[in-house]
Amino acid sequence: MKLRKALSIVLAVLMLVSVLAACGGEKTPNTPDTPNTPSTPDGGNGGGGAEKTGDGVLTVGYATVIDSMTPFRSNTGQDAPYMTLLFESLAVLNDQSEYVKWAAKDYTTSDGGFTYDVEIYDNITDSAGNHITADDIVWFLEETIKAALKPDFSKIESVTKTGDYTFQVKLSSNMVGLFDSLMKHTFVISKAAYEASKDGFATECVTTSAYKVTGFEASSYITFEKRDDYWQDESLVPECVAAKTPKITFRFITEASQMGTALETGTVDMVIDMPSATAVQYLDNSAYSSWESPNMQGWTLFFSGADSRPVANDVKLRQAICTAIDPQGLITAIASGHGSPMYDVCPPTAIGYNPKWDSEDYYNYDEDAAKALLAESDYAGQELEILCGSSNQRMAEVIQGYLGAIGINVKLNALDMAQLTAIRLDGTKYDMFINTIGATTLANHWSIRYDPNAYATGDGTSRHDYTLGEMLYKTWTVDGYTEENIDEVHYYIKDNAIAYGLFNPQRFTIWRSDLGIENTVYDYAGWPSVAATTFTNA
């Protein structure tokens, strides 16, 4: 009897203690302290303290998982920081948004920007020792065109080998930045190695970068180790992709709060792209250092161009909607106060963005002005529909609140990514669509969204605005890519409220302050390059 009583008391106390231990407690800075047992795939410290083990492995937490190492991939995740460690490409974009040759030794253009002759280095070898020639590059380009995973590659008309290490690419478009983008996304891999792989490099990969993959678990981690047999003279490697860190593990952590936990427990040394809500708690903590960079993809509200939708042909209604939304409110609600309002449909990180736009009016938030515009519009109380991804429902709800305040009825339609992808280009399915569009140049961004001939249904929202189309086409050519022409497109989209740039969230990289960072090198996405930066205490 006594034993049972004691057991019941012990059980009750245990439950209570475990709950209380988790709640509250002393609020101390999250100082990395006692080291503990290893947990990371390659022996980083995991279960316990954040102090460094000095094992030379830099462990990086990152949210975008990698399920396969295949080089044939869509645009999703293409800018993930591990991509340049897997495969070298013909060129790379540096932190100044300049394309720098990497595996390409040289290239020349002719035929008004439609034809390019490229020469690659003659001593490229992959991590399995295969010698890379022009045949491999031609094969990669042809396979990528066939796979149709990236829209840019569909603009390649032909690719022909012209020598052992030279080839020629003919394009169907001479749009500014197109060839540079193709160079960036053309991976240098050995056809023989790829064909010998049992699953197309999905789980075992032969790399061409200065690193080789020494550990990979889909959706969990990937480990890179510097190659001893790297083919290139290090002085010729672009600084942003230099290989300084001997061993790097990327650990995929999809749950936001666990990113912070991983950092605090020493499971990772650094977290790249930490959500702002989690990151803010480390900003004033001396044990951690942070780097904020603007997102490459700002949030934009696209208006449907389909005639069946009330917003399609009602400029005043669209303008009323733009004026009713407070970007600062969105930044506070969605990005924990870390973001900046947008002054164009593109974020300022896009090549070609004109900083003078930042000082001009861009639908300044004004509820009364919005109501006045609404009164001038043809809006008659219809229910307007906002389409968004299920992960952005909160943003849609905030916008719904702003629009409700001026008397616009809004219905939300939050879908999972697969459903969203299926209908996002069909303007008959929504009035407004919240989305981010990534593009390196303004011309590229505009071609994806506003070219009336881009898709069977018109532009990216089923609009058929050929006036805008003509303006766009002028900016696509090298000669037409002038400030005047770019301005013309910017003001047309802005004045007609074709779409509205909401805000650009900041992205955070947080790391232990004692990581000993020296000579920080940033990649084009604005993150400290984990391979090219020197970590003295990794």
């Binding site: 279960g47 303290g49 699953d199 749950e255």
Partner: protein
Amino acid sequence: MGRYIIKRLLWMIPIALGVAILVFTLMTFTPGDPAQTLLGATATEEDLNAKREELGLNDPYFVRLFDYLGDVFIRFDLGNSWITSVSIIDTIKIRMPRTVILTVVTLIIAFGLGIPLGVLAATHQNKWQDSVSMVLAMIGVAIPNFWLALLLVVAFSVKLRWLPAMGIEMGLISYILPALSNCTGALANCARQTRSSMLDVIRADYITTARSKGVPERSVIYKHALKNALIPIITAAGTAFGRLLGGAMIIETIFDIPGMGTYIIGSLNNRDYPVVQGGTIFLAIVFSILMLLVDLLYAAVDPRIKAQYASSKKRKKVKANA
């Protein structure tokens, strides 16, 4: 008994077939175009059609269904993932053991604590021990596992630094926090089931007889009563095992465990039909086997059920001997 097992194993064929047809049909009519998901929103109609043709999505429903059933049930091939091109069965071989470990550790904790808690409640019916046990059980049912998971991480990983916060690299230790977070529902159900089952049994005549014969109370409860109360608890354990195998997605995500839950749900979001179908069929087969094992366990703990499984020849022999 052997005939019974063979009969049950044969029953698994129509069950797996039914699950395969159901999942295939549901996936076929789920909104979202796999070709569009694979190629992205900016793919041209021509590219999309080519991809649909490549994936066989342009074929009529019945052609695709019979092709799929042929692959699975005749060639025993679950196919490859559309997203990663990796063999589904190979991926299951890697991921399934992690989910099984998580489930087993969860059940050990849930039933290791739930049964004593239920017994305590039953033997002290309407006393404070009963109330405390049942309140704990209610709390267990009510606590969301993701919330508990985060609390446990803060307590045991961040503050106390006893256990890893994520990953599986430290072996079984890595599964303690995930299992603790995952076990509350099963623990609560087990405690309530044990209490109710024990209350039925401890009022039985043979328990009174045992007591009147002077058998120590401890033996009465744990040898006589609990053994006879086990049948519903075993049923609960089997059902919980099956549910936990397929439903650990949230815990796997929080604790960074690349198991079956995240595999199937991730694939569902990407409309990776072969993975969803293959993973679900595999889990259905595992669940059927588990239910068979549960039935066999009934026989192990209850001789009356064992006697039912005995062949008619054996039964006649036993009768004749009697």
